[in-house]
Amino acid sequence: MFADFASTILAAGALTLLLALGALALSSVLGLALAYGRLSRRRWLVRLIQCFNFVIRGIPDLVLMLLVFYSLPAAINQFLEWSGSGLWVEFSPFWAGMVTLGVIFSAYMSETFKSGLQNIPRGQIEAAEAYGLHPWRIFWRITLPQLARLALPGFTNNWLVMVKATALVSLLGLQDVMFRAKGAAEATGRPFTYYLVAGGFYLAVTLASTFGLLALARRLEQTNHAGRT
């Protein structure tokens, strides 16, 4: 029986990882956009993003998730009803969790990317512009490689925090590792055993990620030094 429950818990690990990776992608893309926005010369944009950051980092992840999963559809549906359109929205726990985590961590990623971007020597960009390189090319060839190296520690940290934050989505009813562990714990009356299994899963993921990203950092350092005479 333990084997059954344990394997069910760990099988949900795929779902947890999928959620985390989706949120990572979303937060990275959004975070990069926000980072550029923070460095822009338009004061209103900078202020707006600062406001956004303040709200996101001022409310607990759990409360934000409850807001997105319960309150947001409720508000939208109330509005749709009032407008008489007969439509309604609903978010699945997976999407609500992924979008919420993606948005929350985009605020943290924007910090990481902003300091990374600020540490790329401005001279390189100016030289590239002088050569007439297209902005996309500049980004791809000059900014991104260096940003990847500079932002890696912060990026790793955000990823680790995000993996752990996925446990909160179980409270929305998503049948992830935490949810299955809770079910097993309550069905068998052995909470310690099954929460230990869940804990083991998360620890394995964070350890693997830490070592993996450390190896990546080392490789990026090598590429950085390569070609230097």
Partner: protein, 229 residues
């Protein structure tokens, strides 16, 4: 709109806020005191001591807070042996369990933050202390701790806010802090928007106060680090 429900229950929200504040302050203070000696041990020359601390911080930083909370609150109650010891009156209280987990969790992060701060103290200061014949304890109290605190204030400030946010998880073990109050209202009045928005507003206010306090402290105590930028 059902804001009248929120207004009716303002008393509950106030009690919840008070509990959140108590949880945060007690956990923070205790974790701080625990992390100070651990930070020194983390940089100790003894391999055993260093690796013991690393094991502790790795486990507590590598697993979600929710798993830790459930392991302690639900998990430990599984053991009949434990229930007959004198520890039980403590462990049976959700408040004690929550505080224990928050302290252990926060101390793990704080230890790493402080250890990093200690490593960043300029060698010159350490050598000067030795030259003056400071005893290790005096050196720690007069040189290391202030140096570490002023350098880690921004990151530690962030950790303080994270801990305050983490108290929202206490609602999963029957504690009626802000998030618990909000969830209770949604279950009894069948509304989803107003209770969570009210909770979010309260957290935003608390976060704003905390951020302002940290920035004030930064200016006062870590101002010398900003000079010459």
């Amino acid at each position: 709109m059902n804001w009248d429900v929120v207004i009716e229950n303002l008393g509950l929200y106030a009690e919840g806020t008070w509990l959140t504040i108590r949880l945060s302050v007690v956990s923070l203070a205790t974790a701080f005191l625990l992390a100070l000696p651990l930070a020194f041990l983390r940089n100790s020359r003894s391999q055993t001591l260093r690796w013991s601390v690393i094991a502790y911080t790795t486990v507590f930083r590598g697993t979600p807070l929710m798993v830790q909370l459930f392991l302690v609150y639900f998990g430990l109650a599984q053991f009949e042996l434990l229930r007959s010891t004198i520890l039980w009156p403590w462990l049976s209280s959700p408040l004690f369990c929550a505080l224990l987990v928050f302290v252990l969790n926060s101390a793990a992060y704080t230890t790493e933050i402080f250890a990093g701060g200690l490593r960043a103290i300029p060698k010159g200061e350490i050598e000067a202390a030795q030259a003056f014949g400071f005893t290790p304890l005096r050196a720690a109290w007069r040189i290391f701790i202030p140096g570490m605190l002023s350098r880690t204030l921004p990151v530690y400030g962030n950790e303080m806010i994270m801990l305050m946010h983490a108290t929202s998880l206490a609602s999963t073990v029957t504690l009626m802090e802000i998030t618990g109050v909000a969830r209770n209202i949604t279950l009894n009045y069948y509304i989803q928007l107003e209770p969570y928005v009210a909770a979010a507003i309260i957290y935003l206010t608390l976060s704003a106060v905390l951020v302002a306090a940290v920035q004030l402290a930064e200016r006062r105590f870590a101002g010398f680090l900003r000079l010459g930028r």
